[in-house]
Symmetry: C2
Subunit: 389 residues, 2 copies
């Protein structure tokens, strides 16, 4: 009766953490106090000046479509921001505003990949990347990062995986789930390496600004040609508004813009007016305060994990994640998460969601997207749970 | 230096009307008063109760991600609305909320098509459909509609085009650019025909509610299994908010939901809270008033075109478009539009944008998305222009 699904659709895995989340919701509904350390978005709501700008725009009638690549003023503001905050020269003509980094990832990969083309991507890494590649018939080519090397990206080892059909190398900095930042010189080596092979490096900078051991930076401050993905979701606390952007070498932009026209028509108009305010001083000041809060939470979590002797093998310099080695307690981090939820009412994300190539059974991701008080309580419960094992 | 584009990206055509629009903007910048009859969105802004609901939600902190398939309350409200306004039984579990009808079209086709699979689509028709098919390696299979038959969809002729690799038949009702509605019995025949072939009918109902010669309807009131696309863009005047939905046979939904998770993460949260208000009485009352205004504009335009002896060969029962035969004046409707813009400062969309299979050189699309006064002035200018030829 019902027509069959495409092979792609049949093979797209769910986010495994969703099963845990459903259980967490059921526990909450029963009156349990569940602490959520699995949430991949800031617990801060969209800053007031952004909301005010949106309200102002919509009451002035700005509720129709914008150009497919975004409001010219926003493309300019984004280019300006690269100069001001990151010392990078970007032309507004290189900027395409998109429905989230999700939209940017889709556009970039659809613009570059023919069926059968390969994309190097890190394992562990952001799980959706594989699906953006597969959507257009491309081949995800996982580069397995080693826990023994702190899940760092080594440019030589990475580029050694380049195959005849590879067209794109992808990394995220700061990274999800490890929180690692890829050093500027490694990014330049990857970019040059990819260029020499006739391909390109794609850097996902969605967690830009959320770093704790060094100043915020962009690969665009370097000279090698790259494709950059970004978003107003994380640093700007606008996840629900679905707005991101990409920065591409200018010759690629007209085609990317035509793709955007056809696939999305345009990004959200109110969100774009909000984004204009997001890049201005009053909002940036609020965001820096939040950034400081995150830094304190991070330290609280790292201290607590050290006390529990749970190793954070990645450097966790950025984003709001730590990737924790639980191999002293389990060979099945999914079961570990499920039990922890039942017994201690603490939710975490099992390593499985970030790739099956790396040693995912030994890892869980903790997000510090809740208050220090909650983190402290979660650590207390975790300690009790570990003692009970 | 720059990596090469994918073949798909290279082949995606621009919207041809964009070239005219740029010229229109230049003319406006020079102080000319350009009348825009090419705009495919309502000139009405988002209704006040929708904006109020959004403002209320965001000030209460609803700015984070929602579930990938949308807020459960919105999926329920949409299902309810089918019952109340269209007499159709739809379960909330069949509804997936998406980033516009654009997102819904992409999801639906990615869920169904393997590379090489064919999709029957009307020519003339909505131009992006071809690209959603090509994105996943599918083959657009144009079904050329005949001006002599008022660009009507004939179920037998349509299904006669079904090929061995065809998986989906797509129609829009009301249609863009013809304004035609496909009669309920024809839709049921198409749905049954597609089902017998092991495929499915996809009906784009994005202009639902915008019809002038019969009550609004949905193919879902019938019994044959179909996939339906819809949006808050047009009837609800929310284009800039980027919110739509699809209704699928329930067995397809889990996979569509996983796809949505990976490709979009979630639809816009504020837009979803707005949509909840959009489906309620205060907004529906406003929208019905706007609908009445559109009905008057339509009549004004049809009268004016009749006076000019310019045939509207389609029935133009719905949407806000009329598709006009200008073959008495030109064999090149693109040049006709360009000249009309220069000489009379009236912008229209040439037939070329809606497919090259039909007699596009003889057709232009006029949208009645401006006031009656502007329409009357446009008709006056058009008359002068035609007399000058
Ligand atoms: C590394 C990474 N890239 C991209 C995204 C997509 O985010 P959005 O579409 O909200 O901008 C996410 C979201 O969690 C992410 O972690
Ligand atoms: C027939 C048709 N389908 C789908 C769309 C996409 O609209 P949206 O993504 O704004 O819902 C449009 C927009 O013009 C259209 O005319």
């Amino acid at each position: 009766m019902t027509p069959s699904l495409s092979e792609f659709a049949r093979r797209v895995p769910p986010f495994h953490v969703m099963a845990l989340l459903e259980r967490a919701q059921a526990l909450s509904a029963q009156g349990h106090d569940v602490i959520h350390l699995e949430v991949g978005e800031p617990d801060f709501t969209t800053p007031e000046p952004v909301l005010a700008a949106i309200q102002d725009a919509v009451t002035h009638g700005c509720t129709g479509y914008t150009p497919a690549a975004g409001l010219p003023a926003l493309r300019e503001a984004i280019a300006d921001d690269y100069r001001k905050r990151f010392g990078a020269q970007v032309s507004p003509a290189q900027v395409v505003v998109t429905p989230g980094a999700s939209g940017a990832l889709q556009l970039a990969l659809a613009a570059l990949l023919n069926p059968g083309d390969g994309v190097l991507l890190t394992d562990p890494g952001y799980p959706c990347n594989r699906q953006f590649v597969r959507l257009v018939g491309g081949e995800p080519q996982p580069v397995v990062l080693q826990a023994g090397n702190h899940f760092n990206v080594d440019s030589e080892a990475f580029m050694a995986q380049w195959q005849a059909n590879t067209r794109v190398a992808m990394v995220a900095s700061p990274d999800n789930p490890t929180g690692n930042m890829v050093p500027a010189e490694v990014l330049q080596q990857l970019a040059q390496g990819a260029q020499e092979k006739g391909g390109i490096l794609l850097v996902d900078e969605i967690y830009q600004g959320l770093c704790y051991t060094q100043p915020a930076s962009s690969v665009l401050a370097g000279s090698a040609p790259v494709l950059v993905i970004n978003s107003f979701s994380k640093y700007f606390c606008m996840t629900g508004w679905r707005l991101g952007w990409l920065v591409a070498p200018e010759p690629l932009v007209p085609a990317i813009e035509r793709l955007a026209q056809n696939l999305f028509l345009a990004p959200s108009t109110p969100a774009q007016y909000g984004a204009l305010a997001a890049l201005q001083e009053p909002t940036l000041t609020i965001l820096e305060q939040r950034h400081q809060l995150l830094a304190r939470r991070r330290q609280c979590l790292l201290n607590g994990l050290a006390h529990l002797k749970l190793p954070v093998v990645s450097r966790a310099d950025g984003a709001f994640y730590v990737y924790v080695d639980v191999s002293d307690y389990t060979d099945d981090s999914f079961a570990f998460c499920a039990n922890l939820l039942e017994k201690a009412k603490v939710a975490m994300t099992p390593g499985l969601d970030f790739g099956q190539g790396h040693d995912h059974r030994h890892f869980v991701r903790l997000a510090y997207t809740c208050s220090e008080a909650r983190l402290t309580e979660a650590l207390r419960r975790l300690e009790q749970y570990l003692e009970s094992l």
